[in-house]
Every structure is written in C-alpha cells, then in structure tokens.
Subunit: 255 residues, 2 copies
C-alpha cells in the first residue's frame, strides 16, 4: 500500500513525526505542490469570508451604538442597576468578592464601545458615583488586539486611590482588580471581557431582572457561534460552576 | 444617592441578588419598561447581524467545497498524509495514543462537509485502507446542533470490528474512540471536532509539512475570532501543553 506508517505489527511510533518532509519523494513533492496551489485559493476565499463577516459586524456595531446609548441613558437612573446585573451573571458573579460588590455598587453607567476598526478591539467604560475607594469618576479599560502578533494588550485609566485604599482593594477584590489590570494577553481575547461584552452588556436588563433561564443562556451561546466550528467552551456559563466570590474562574474537574 | 447597595460600611451581601425585581418601585418599573423596548430593537438588530453572518459563511462554504474536493483528491495519493497531519497537530496529537496512530495510518481520505444549513452542523468522513481493526472502508461522524435546546448530537457509522479488536481498541485508543462516540453534548460545539474542522482540515498541508509556526497558529485563531468578543480559550494551541499521547486534553496547571 506504500504507506510508510502501515507496518501494523509494530506501533506507529513518533519517529516519523517531524521527519516526513525530508523523506518526501519527488513524486510526492509534485502532488503536494499541486495541492498547495489549491490550498492557496482556499485561503484566499477564507480571508474574503473573514473580511465580509467583519464588514457585517462593523455595520451592525454602528447601527447598535445609538440604541445602546439610548438604553444606557434609560438605565442610568435605576439605582444599583449595574451592580445587580453583575451579581446575577453566573460567570461574572464567580469572580466577585464582597469588596467588588461594594465598589461596583457605585457604577452609575457602563458603556462598551468597539474601536473604530472592530477587529482591533473595544473599550469598557464605567462611571462611578462618589465613593470611599478612589476619586476617578470614570475608568476605561481598553482591549487592543495586535493582529500581527496575535495577542492582546489591555490599558486602563490610572486609579486615583484614596489614602490606604489601594492595599485594601488589592488584597480583597477580584473583578475590580481584573478591570484595572493592564498586562498583555498572549492568548487572544480575554474571557472576562468577552463575558462582559457579549453577555452581561448585551442582556443587561435580563440579568438585572434575573430572568435569563439556563436554556436562554445556551441559546445566546449558539447565536454567537456563527462559525459553528468556533471553539467556545465557556463551561461555566451553565451557572453550576461552583462557589461564588471565589478566585479565578477554573475548571470544575480538579480531581 | 438612592442606591440600595450603597451602604458602604457594611459588605454588599448576597441578600439583594435575586430580590431586586420584587423591590422595584413603580418609577423604576417605568424606566425599565422604556429600556426594554430599546433592548428589543437591539435584539432584533443582533438577530439580523447573526443571520447576515451566517449567510456569508454559507456562501463561502459552498464556494470552498469544490476546492476542498480538488485538494483532497490531490492529497489522497500521498502516503500517510492524514496520519502525519494528525501527529503534527499540537492539540490533536495530545489525544493520540499509539493505537490511534496505527489506526489513523489507514486513513486515505478525510473530508469535512457542512450540513445543508451550516447552522445545524457538519460531518467528518474518513476513508480507510484495509486494516486489522475493522472492515468498514468509510466512517462518518456527524455533529448536529439542536438550536432549540442549545445542545449537540453526534452520530457515527457503526464500526464493524474484526474479532477481538473492539476490546483492544477501546482500552488503548483515545482519538479514535472520540470519533466513534455518539453521546450528545450539552455544551454546544465539540472542542475536538472544532480543532479538526477549523484547524487541522483547513491547514492540512502545513500540518503535514510541520511548518506552521506558533505565531501562525495564533493568527489563525485571530482570523477565526470574527466577533472578537467570541470566547476562544484553546490554551493548548500553543503546543506546549505537555505530554503526547496522553489522556484527555486538560489544563496545564495541575499543581
């Protein structure tokens, strides 16, 4: 059969793992070359598809913007709106410690805005009422994707802490510390940011009213699948992911 | 400030988590009602966006199909093509045990095809040369998404085992057992299926030649992000995820 791995009596060992290319015969090289030119056509199509999808999303991002602004202006006068929505979101709630709840009870406005070119990122802005922790009335976290390197950079407004508060909050908060963190992520999008943008912000009123069923959460997920093959394993979104107010999100199976 | 969570002296306890709706004043109810009608407009737009994105993907899925068929016909005559590609894929390789390598060395053709309505799933077909394990020359795994329930069903051709092989393979293979498994998944798309469809199949030649750099892998990921907010935490794709041929894929931090 001519298959080099086909000696079924002995295990197909790892010896051939990286050696294959150097062992290629002229004949195989020719076949590969033909296949490669087809592959290039495929990749061109793939890139076109990606661009078209982005154009659609860009168009809708612009259409949605004034509606989000209108909604958020309406929500602004509902006391404790955002902290309640945070507390009722199954994934976000897991990241919240008591001090996070205290700090976020001062959020009067939350806004999420795509960057001009949506492919390059978005920013999350939070307005705060006067509070004991810091003097900023606006904090903005920006997530910027570096498409050439495939990683993401985050920036955040510097926090003007009130005396003694920085140490206290650093030690006893989680979600707020995530919000102010500015490390770069070498793994593409940030899970928490995605949850806030695509789930919490999108469905804010339902989270506030605590009326999103598990099934609806799943359906949202499926809506967002779009590419269908996209990997999307937010296992915790079913809300049974364990303790509240805990440390980082982690897998359930720590056996 | 009128914020019910705003008593900063005592911790914002969980007491308000689900009680909020019942405590709403008439005034707040009115504001919520206004915001809800804006929210409905937003959701309509979101649904339109999703439909448009799917239409784009459906269109390109059709355009790509004859090219994939052409490429796969060209690859068919390269000995050990698919088993080498499998072995060189950093995520898939982790699922492969020695017996998986033996079985998959018999794969002569791999084909992935979207279902008519791409939103409902896809199928993975593998053609096998004659082998000691089973008599099927074609096995097809189908992943079907149930959009109303938000889960996925998998089906697979029944394997016609040769005598004594079923027990042997069940005990000592991993990727092949995944392929033939038919349990339904209540968490949407299947991670392994996604890796095979969007990464291994798409970039098969590069995996065969083992020339995809880590950076390119990341860029692929970013390409596939599309929605940018999409969660996509295939941490293992950096290829440093530990031992080969091991059990299930798992997180690196088993400390």
């Amino acid at each position: 059969m001519g298959n080099p791995n086909d000696s079924s009596d002995e295990p197909a060992s790892k010896k051939s793992r990286t050696e294959a290319p150097t062992q290629l015969s002229k004949d195989v090289e020719n076949k590969l070359t033909a296949a490669l030119s087809t592959q290039e056509e495929l990749e061109k199509l793939h890139q076109e598809a990606t661009n078209e999808v982005l154009a659609v999303e860009q168009k809708y991002s612009k259409l949605k913007k004034p509606l989000f602004e209108k909604r958020d202006k309406e929500l602004k006068h509902i006391p404790g709106f955002w902290s309640t929505a945070f507390q009722n979101h199954p994934v976000i709630a897991q990241l919240m410690m008591e001090l996070d709840q205290q700090i976020l009870s001062h959020v009067t406005e939350l806004e999420i805005e795509d960057l001009e070119d949506i492919k390059t990122g978005f920013k999350i802005s939070m307005r705060f009422s006067e509070n004991e922790f810091f003097s900023n009335d606006l904090l903005v976290k920006t997530l910027k994707y570096d498409l050439s390197k495939g990683d993401a950079k985050t920036e955040c407004t510097e926090v003007n802490w009130k005396p003694g508060q920085e140490e206290k909050v650093t030690d006893a908060s989680n979600l707020f510390m995530w919000f102010t963190a500015t490390e770069s992520l070498d793994d593409g999008p940030d899970e928490v940011a995605s949850q806030i943008k695509d789930s919490l912000y999108m469905d804010a009123i339902r989270f506030f009213k605590n009326e999103l069923t598990e099934e609806e959460m799943y359906n949202r997920d499926m809506d967002d699948m779009e590419g269908i093959g996209e990997s999307d394993d937010d296992d915790d979104e079913d809300g049974d992911g364990g303790s509240d107010g805990g440390e980082e999100e982690e897998d359930d199976d720590e056996a």
